[in-house]
Each structure stands twice: as structure tokens, then as C-alpha cells.
């Protein structure tokens, strides 16, 4: 028998993941050369909302805290851009820093409010916070432009402001950097502890962790990157408005995460890409697109609650189990957990 040793297995998986990511990145870099300008616009929007979904998932999929108020962070980022770029000459880098600071600060507020709430209560507490933020955006006209929002956001201060392609590349770079930072964060001790929140909060508390502070960390990091996503969206659209803070966006980002696979790092991004593409496609075909969207939500809940990546992982596991029908492997028992799916290196699968 010349089965590969576990170490080799991990190495080859790492290598394969790196190759897959590298190829993906090359494809994404090349998109402006092949896509018509409209689809490049859509692709940029997917980058922004994909980043939003990934940031959301730090709290949701990893921290196990179902926030229904994340639009507040996204909208905050958009408003920071709107206000800073139309009323000041601040350079782009400063605006990005401001956005990060604002997102972090709001994240801390969310975290402090949610020190104790769980499950459905947390869901509604975050919803109430987001609605309050929405109320402020809508009514504090002096600052936010009220229902008209802030329009005419230009990309003058943005590095290489010129073409749509340049902005796409900038967005791509920022998204890649943000994802890498979040990835590293989730691998750090703090990130591991946040995942521990989901697994068993009481056990975490019993081992001496100060559970509350990790909730605040999770919201702060998630809030900061959600705000960056809002920043990208505002620059792309050229406007910021209360819709960026609306309840439906908070619900939608949860669907992104679930449909893609909330247990996986890249799941929410995938979900955002799928839903946004689908929305665009269906709304071009029929004015009854909200009905179709409803069907997608229902089917997601019924058949895809562990997401597209969860499905793929499951199917692969099953396929592998079939190929390994030899008695020795069978004796090793159900190895679902011990030998995680191939995608695992991109992932962080939930062990339930």
C-alpha cells in the first residue's frame, strides 16, 4: 500500500488551493480586457457586495451571531465617502482610513449592545440598531441629504481615477487585500476564539475567555470591512442613499452567506455573485422578478441550507467514501470530520 502520508495530503491540498486561487485571480485581473463595459460595472458591484458578504460572515458564519442589521455598516461606509468626497479634498487613502475607523466604531457599538443577546434576540436587536441608523440617515438631512441621498460622488481623489477598468482593478486589489486580512484574522488566536463562540460559548467562558470581548472584536472587524465594501459601492455608483442601510439589504446579505455556504470563508462571496447575477438576469426577463427571488429564497432554505460549497463538499466526501471501499478504510470509520473536504483549505468548515 502506498497511501500518501497525511502531511503530503495536506501539502498537496494547500498547493492545489494556491493554484486554484492564483488562476482565479488571473482571470479576475483579465476581465476588463474581455468584458463589455456594462458587465465590468456589474462585476465591480459583485466585488463590493462579495466583500460585504464575506465581512458579514465573520459575525454570522464564524461567530454564530445572526445579525440582521449589517446594512448599517455598509451604508455607513457609503456615507463616509459621500460626505468626505463631496465636502472636502481629503485624499483617497484618508477616506479609506476614515471608513475603517467609522466601521470599527459602529462595530464596537453593535458588539457592546449584543454582549448578552443570542439567537433570535440578537437578530432583532441588530435589526433595531440598523433601523435606528436608517432613521438617522433619513432624517438628518444636513449631513446625509435625507431621502435624496448624496449624489455626484466623483473618483477624482481615487488613484488612477480615469477609466472603469482602472477602478475595477483598484476594487479588486482592495477586495483581495481585505479578504487576505480577514483570512489572517480568522486564523489568529482572536479569530479562533470567535469561531469558538459559535461552537460553545459556555465552554469558551469556562476556559477563561472573556466571551463578551470576542463578540465586540467580531463586530468591529466585520463592521470595518463591511464599511469598506460600502465605500467601494459608493464610488462605483457615484451616490449614497438610505437604501444602502435598508432592512432588505441586511436580509439579502444573509441569503448571500447561506446560499454560498456560511461555514466556508469564500461561501458568502460566491452567494453574492450567484444572487446578483440571477437578479440581473431575471429582472431583465420579467417584471415579476421579486416572485422569482422569493422562490430562490425558499429553495435555498429547503435544499441549500449548508450552501453551494457545503453541497459540493458533501458530494465530494461521498464520492471519496465510495472510491475508498477497501476494508482498512472502512474500518477507520466515518471519516467525515477527520478528513475534511478538499475545499477545506479555502474554508474552515463547521464541525457539527
Amino acid at each position: 500500500m502506498n497511501l500518501p502520508s497525511p502531511g503530503d495530503h495536506v501539502k498537496s491540498r494547500r498547493l492545489r488551493s494556491a493554484v486554484v486561487l492564483g488562476v482565479l485571480l488571473l482571470v479576475l485581473l483579465a476581465l476588463p480586457f474581455v468584458l463589455p463595459s456594462f458587465y465590468l460595472f456589474v462585476a465591480t458591484r459583485i466585488l463590493a457586495l462579495g466583500l460585504f458578504a464575506t465581512a458579514f460572515n465573520i459575525v454570522f458564519g464564524f461567530g454564530g451571531m445572526p445579525s440582521l442589521g449589517h446594512a448599517a455598516f455598509f451604508g455607513l461606509g457609503a456615507y463616509v465617502v459621500g460626505i468626505a468626497s463631496t465636502r472636502s479634498d481629503l485624499p483617497f487613502v484618508v477616506i479609506v482610513v476614515l471608513t475603517l475607523v467609522a466601521g470599527t466604531a459602529l462595530g464596537v457599538v453593535f458588539g457592546l449592545f449584543n454582549l448578552r443577546a443570542k439567537g433570535i434576540y440578537l437578530l432583532l436587536l441588530t435589526l433595531a440598531l440598523a433601523q435606528a441608523a436608517y432613521g438617522l440617515a433619513f432624517q438628518q438631512v444636513e449631513l446625509t441629504g435625507g431621502d435624496n441621498g448624496i449624489s455626484g460622488i466623483t473618483r477624482e481623489g481615487v488613484p488612477i481615477p480615469g477609466s472603469a477598468s482602472a477602478f475595477y482593478w483598484l476594487a479588486l486589489a482592495m477586495v483581495v487585500v481585505s479578504l487576505s486580512l480577514m483570512w489572517a484574522f480568522m486564523r489568529s488566536p482572536v479569530g479562533m476564539a470567535i469561531t469558538g463562540l459559535r461552537e460553545s460559548e459556555s465552554r469558551l467562558a469556562a476556559t477563561g475567555y472573556r466571551v463578551g470581548s470576542y463578540r465586540v472584536y467580531a463586530f468591529a472587524v466585520s463592521g470595518a470591512f463591511s464599511a469598506v465594501a460600502g465605500l467601494l459601492d459608493a464610488y462605483l455608483l457615484g451616490s449614497a442613499s438610505p437604501s444602502n442601510m435598508a432592512f432588505l439589504l441586511s436580509a439579502e446579505v444573509m441569503v448571500f452567506a447561506i446560499l454560498g455556504g456560511a461555514a466556508f470563508f469564500f461561501g458568502p462571496f460566491l452567494g453574492a455573485a450567484v444572487i446578483l447575477s440571477l437578479e440581473l438576469y431575471v429582472s431583465t426577463l420579467t417584471s415579476r422578478w421579486t416572485f422569482v427571488l422569493g422562490i430562490v429564497y425558499v429553495l435555498t432554505a429547503l435544499f441549500m441550507s449548508d450552501g453551494i460549497l457545503g453541497r459540493i463538499a458533501y458530494l465530494r466526501r461521498r464520492a471519496r467514501r465510495k472510491t475508498a471501499e477497501s476494508p482498512t478504510r472502512a474500518a477507520a470509520g466515518e471519516t467525515d470530520v477527520a478528513v475534511p473536504a478538499d475545499t477545506d483549505d479555502l474554508v474552515e468548515e463547521r464541525h457539527t
Binding site: F138, D233, G238, S241, S243, S283, L285, T286, S287, R288
Partner: protein, 426 residues
């Protein structure tokens, strides 16, 4: 879980989808979105063809408005056999979904993918503000049919035109009228707490006070206020008149609460408060409410008769300002195209639009140098006629522009209405 069980939800969903398809085909107001809906696909006229992008809400809170604008536009187009001034018109409808992000995407789709040479529509002003800069940069004319923010038409020589009102345009004549003609000397203002509410209220308050009367109170309620009792009970009962800016379903709730709490001060409203879409639901509660608007279905002129006849043949409800906005937009486009020689380019249409002068159902309509429509404004009163509630025309103020009788430069120096809200009563 057995296979049989797993298929059950699918069956249910399929059934629901079929039911939906059935409903869709029955509903008079439902609009297909695809390019070949409405009036004949890929028309080629003697002069060429033009793709028109209709960007009106088909879902969400403004769906009823968007459907009627589209229906009005297509009705006119159909009455002309799908051609305007010998240009074949291809209509493509997209849904801005009441969201600036979606709307910006859809505007780009209309221009970059569908090749729209003009975009017509928009209800929500926030959405209009978000979309307009893109169309400007793309050199594609935009004709707004509902969105009312004053600030949208403040640039000279742009590519933007608006057949519908600015927030303050239809209420400025009302201030004069209520003070001088009706002799009601003190007013309490009840408006919705967003820019349209402030602009419409402010327009009224400006001319009302300049005419020598006094605004004694201002109350603003959030959009979609479910319970109007807190506001209605605060109204100053010593005022001679209540001026209301409560469009949409808020109007229904406002009037119901107003009557329920036994207030009997006469109401004068911005015309959208007593829109024909709402009158059947408001019924008795709207009786006697006066309002100002640039349209009423009972206007007596040949163009309106043509419009109302064509509309009532197809739909079993009254025309309204939104349907008329769509119809008038088609008329304006037709007039512009008759001036365009050859290929209808963005610049060609924009330049031709500036000189458009038509007899719309509302009466004479042309654009000022900012692209804003100039039209007659009607003073109306809700009355029962042949068993139906209508906005009976009691007076007409001719050729009202967005600055009313004020000097343009002086008017543009005024602080914006969102800064003035709350200051009128002081």
C-alpha cells in the same frame, strides 16, 4: 427523507408559479418587461428607429405610479401605430426597484446593452439624483416623468427634461390662490418629512406669506406613517386652512384620521394627495378637499378627450397625472423627433427637446431652459360626479414655470427648502 417527500415543495412552488402566470395575464396593470412587449418589436420607420428605455418602478412602493406612466407612454405609442414622427420606437422596460444601486445598474444596461437613445421615467428623486449623472456623462437624454426634487432641473442646457412637476411648482400658485382668492388668512401645514414634503410645503408657504397671509404651524410626519393620530390631534384648530402634502397611502391614512378626530378646518392639498389612484379608497373622507396640480382627468380640451377615451377603452379606472405624464412624454418625444434629421443621436434629441411645444392632455406644455416643463396649474376640488369622486377644476393658473412669478436669479438665491422647513411658522 424520502424522495416523494422531497418533491412536494417543488410541486407546490410550481403550482404557485403557474398561479402567478395566470394572475399576471389577467391584471390590467401588469407590464411585461422584455423588449418585444407593448407596441410591436423592432419597428423600423421611414426615418429610422429609436430605442426608448422606460425606467419606471414595477415593484415596491411606487409600482402603481410606474405602471401608469409606462401604460400612458405605450398607449400613446400604440395610438400612433408604434411610430413617432416616422421613427420606429422600440420600448425596453427595466425596473429601478426603488434602489439607487439597482437603478444605476439598469440605466447602464438600457444604454450599454439595449442601445437606448433616451431614458424616460423615474419616480423616486433619490434614484433620479443617482442615475442622472451617468446619463449626462453618456450623452443620453433623460426625460423624468414623476420624480419631483426641485434641484434636478437647476442646470441650464443639460440633457435632462421633466414633464412632471418640481416639488414646489404646483403649490406656489396655490399659496397665492388660497390667500387672495379664497381669503383664508392663516394656515397650518401638514407635510411628509422628506424633501418632496418640504419643497411642496415651502412653495405654498412662500407665496402664501408673500401674499400677506400667515403660516401658523408646521407639522411633518415620516414617510409611511402608519398612525396619523399623533399629528392630526396636534393641528392648530384656529387656523383657517390646513395645507397638506401627503401623497400616496399616507393621504388615505391622514384623511381618515382627520375625519375621525372630528376636524372641520378646510383642507387644501398638493394635488398628489387626492390622486385618482387614491380617490376610490378615500371616498367620503376626501369630499371637498381642494388641491392644485397640473392635471385633472376632467379637464375639457380635445387632447384630454383623446387621452381619456383611449385610456378608458383599455382600463376600467380613471386616468391620473402619472398616466398623463407618460402620455405627454411620448407626445414630447414625438415632437422632438419631428425636428431631428436622420439618425436620432443623443445631442440631436436633446437639442430638439428644448424647442418642444405641445398640446398635452393637461394643456400647453413646453420646457424652460433648465429642461423643466411649463404648464397650466389647476385649482381643483374633490366632488362626486356620476357616482364617482373626481377632482373638479375650479380655476386655472396659466403657464406656470418652476420659479412661478419670481425672478430666476433672485429665486436661485433663496435657501433650499430643506433649510427653510420649520421657519415658515416662526
Amino acid at each position: 427523507m424520502s424522495k416523494r417527500r422531497a418533491t412536494r415543495p417543488l410541486v407546490a412552488l410550481t403550482a404557485a408559479t403557474l398561479a402567478l402566470a395566470g394572475c399576471g395575464s389577467q391584471a390590467p396593470s401588469s407590464g411585461g418587461v422584455s423588449a418585444d412587449s407593448g407596441s410591436g418589436s423592432a419597428q423600423e420607420g421611414a426615418n429610422g428607429s429609436l430605442t426608448v428605455g422606460l425606467l419606471n418602478p414595477l415593484t415596491g412602493p411606487f409600482a402603481a405610479l410606474g405602471e401608469d406612466v409606462n401604460a400612458g407612454f405605450e398607449l400613446y405609442l400604440d395610438s400612433k401605430g408604434g411610430q413617432l414622427s416616422d421613427y420606429g420606437i422600440n420600448v425596453v422596460k427595466e425596473d429601478p426597484a426603488n434602489d439607487p444601486g439597482v437603478a444605476t445598474t439598469k440605466a447602464r444596461q438600457l444604454v450599454q446593452q439595449e442601445g437606448a437613445g433616451i431614458v424616460i421615467g423615474l419616480v423616486n428623486s433619490g434614484v433620479a439624483y443617482a442615475v442622472a449623472p451617468y446619463l449626462e456623462s453618456a450623452g443620453v437624454p433623460l426625460m423624468i416623468t414623476v420624480a419631483g426634487a426641485d434641484g434636478l432641473t437647476r442646470t441650464k442646457g443639460g440633457n435632462l427634461f421633466r414633464v412632471s412637476y418640481t416639488g414646489s411648482q404646483d403649490t406656489m400658485p396655490a399659496g397665492d390662490y388660497v390667500c387672495k382668492e379664497l381669503g383664508l388668512k392663516t394656515a397650518a401645514i401638514v407635510g411628509l418629512d422628506y424633501s418632496f414634503g418640504w419643497e411642496a410645503s415651502g412653495g405654498f408657504a412662500r407665496t402664501y406669506e408673500d401674499a400677506g397671509c400667515k403660516v401658523v404651524q408646521e407639522l411633518y410626519a415620516p414617510l409611511a406613517t402608519q398612525d396619523w393620530a399623533p399629528y392630526v390631534t396636534q393641528i392648530n384648530r384656529d387656523a383657517d386652512v390646513v395645507f397638506a402634502v401627503t401623497p400616496g397611502s399616507d393621504a388615505v391614512r391622514f384623511l381618515k384620521a382627520y375625519r375621525g378626530f372630528g376636524l372641520d378646518t378646510p383642507i387644501f392639498a398638493q394635488g398628489s394627495t387626492t390622486d385618482e389612484q387614491l380617490l376610490p379608497t378615500m371616498g367620503e373622507t376626501a369630499d371637498g378637499v381642494m388641491s392644485s396640480l397640473h392635471y385633472s382627468p376632467v379637464i375639457d380640451n380635445p387632447a384630454n378627450k383623446t387621452f381619456v377615451d383611449a385610456w378608458t377603452e383599455k382600463y376600467d379606472r380613471s386616468t391620473n397625472q402619472y398616466a398623463e405624464d407618460g402620455w405627454a412624454a411620448a407626445q414630447a418625444l414625438e415632437a422632438a423627433l419631428s425636428d431631428v434629421k436622420g439618425e436620432p443621436t443623443g445631442d440631436g434629441i436633446t437639442n430638439a427637446m428644448r424647442n418642444v411645444s405641445i398640446d398635452a392632455p393637461r394643456g400647453a406644455l413646453r420646457f424652460d431652459e433648465y429642461g423643466q416643463a411649463i404648464y397650466d396649474v389647476y385649482m381643483r376640488k374633490v366632488t362626486k360626479q356620476d357616482g364617482k369622486w373626481v377632482n373638479k377644476v375650479v380655476d386655472t393658473v396659466p403657464a406656470v414655470n418652476q420659479f412661478y412669478t419670481y425672478d430666476v436669479d433672485e429665486y436661485l438665491q433663496f435657501p433650499p427648502y430643506d433649510k427653510l422647513k420649520g421657519t415658515w411658522a416662526k
